[in-house]
């Protein structure tokens, strides 16, 4: 592709715009992921000893829970370093 100055600036500002939009939504994204994690935990909590709803409810919803299950897994992996996770969320480097 040929290098063009207007294109370069377009991409540059698009990048800056994306960063700002991402930053604005970052906390809400974190919050949603937490909620999805809780949702999955509530449904499938019997695996870790939480009181759980009737098993069939989990079975009924399992087919649509791929994303929530991924987050649940990720959270379990990250749980050893929650401090780093929080720092990342608040934006402390």
């Amino acid at each position: 592709m040929k290098f063009s100055i207007p294109d370069f600036f377009r991409q540059f500002f698009k990048g800056i715009d994306a960063v700002h939009r991402n930053n604005a939504a970052a906390l809400t994204i974190f919050e949603v992921e937490e909620l999805e994690n809780i949702f999955a935990l509530l449904l499938l909590g019997s695996f870790v000893g939480f009181p759980s709803p009737p098993t069939f409810l989990a079975v009924e919803l399992l087919p649509f829970m791929e994303k929530e299950l991924r987050i649940l897994n990720q959270r379990a992996k990250d749980s050893s370093d929650m401090f780093a996770e929080m720092c990342g969320t608040i934006g402390i480097d």
Partner: protein
């Protein structure tokens, strides 16, 4: 269509009373009797072999025994099909094996039972009466409680799901997809499969609960004139009250001349625990005691007129 549930402690004669009521009702109405007890003896009482499908006994009376194990299997099979449809890339794995453990998990059997009741009520519209002979107290209370418990859970889950979708919507407005390749998560209520399914389940259970607690459904409590039976019946009455289920008849079964004193005492206590509910007494059949041939479903006392 009226729905009758026969409950009580194990061995008090639930099946016999259910069979007798069905027999008496069937003289005037069209009746289906369904046994939900895993230890079926409906066939023994009527002296016929009953398959899983409903078997006509007389013109007005049909019999059915529900195979719980088969039901749980079918239910899980349906779910596994949905799973494999959703996660096509997992089809290389042997999901059947993986999910076969689920049939041992608590709750599946009660759920299968409840599904079978719901299905019977929905499909068998040709009958005036459907009688359910239930398993002993513990299991019966658990599955009758299932719709209410489930509705509570579903309500909570719907709330959380709605919050998730609201937040996703906020994110979508703030940030939008950064490039074309990014997958957009569902943020509208009508697009979200999880919420849709939760709402469908909620509707199902609300309507089932309405049927169970409604005017046309009745719970009949069978007991014997002894202390053990009295205690357990007390618990059952409390349980039914908590679940808002309509107890409409008490049957004191196996009354003899010898236990008349005890019968009076038990009836009096039952009357205190369940105020305003009719009590019927059914005596222990002399012909049965003598070991002579008898139709087990044909008791002398009238147990059906209350429901006509």
């Amino acid at each position: 269509m009226k729905i009758l549930f026969f409950t009580g402690k194990g061995g008090v004669g639930k099946s016999t009373m259910a069979a007798s009521t069905a027999w008496q009702l069937s003289q005037k109405k069209r009746v289906l009797i369904v046994s939900l007890d895993p230890a079926h003896n409906l066939g023994d009482i009527f002296g016929v072999t009953i398959k899983d499908e409903k078997t006509p006994f007389t013109e007005g009376l049909s019999l059915k025994e529900v195979d719980l194990r088969k039901l749980s299997k079918e239910y899980l099979k349906r779910e596994i099909n949905v799973l494999t449809d959703t996660y096509r890339y997992l089809q290389t794995l042997n999901l059947d094996n993986y999910f076969s453990v689920l049939k041992y998990s608590p709750g599946i059997e009660e759920y299968a039972l409840l599904t079978s009741i719901e299905k019977t009520i929905r499909e068998e519209n040709d009958f005036d009466f459907i009688l359910f002979d239930t398993p002993p107290t513990g299991l019966t209370l658990r599955f009758l409680a299932l719709p209410s418990i489930t509705i509570t859970w579903i309500d909570r889950l719907i709330q959380i799901r709605r919050t998730i979708l609201e937040k996703r919507h906020t994110i979508h407005r703030l940030r939008g997809p950064l490039d074309d390749k990014e997958t957009i998560l569902d943020y509208k209520e009508e697009d979200d499969d999880v919420l849709k399914r939760l709402q469908r389940l909620n509707d199902n259970y609300q309507s089932l609960n309405a049927v169970l607690q409604g005017e046309n459904s009745s719970v009949i409590l069978v007991y014997n004139p002894d202390i053990l039976s009295l205690r357990e019946s007390g618990r059952l009455i409390e349980g039914l009250h908590d679940l808002n289920l309509p107890l409409r008849l008490l049957i004191n079964n196996k009354v003899t001349q010898e236990n008349e004193g005890m019968s009076n005492y038990v009836d009096q206590r039952m009357g205190q625990m369940a105020r305003g509910i009719a009590i019927k007494r059914v005596s222990l059949s002399k012909v049965l005691l003598d070991g002579k041939e008898n139709k087990l479903y044909d008791v002398e006392e009238d147990v059906a007129s209350v429901f006509l």
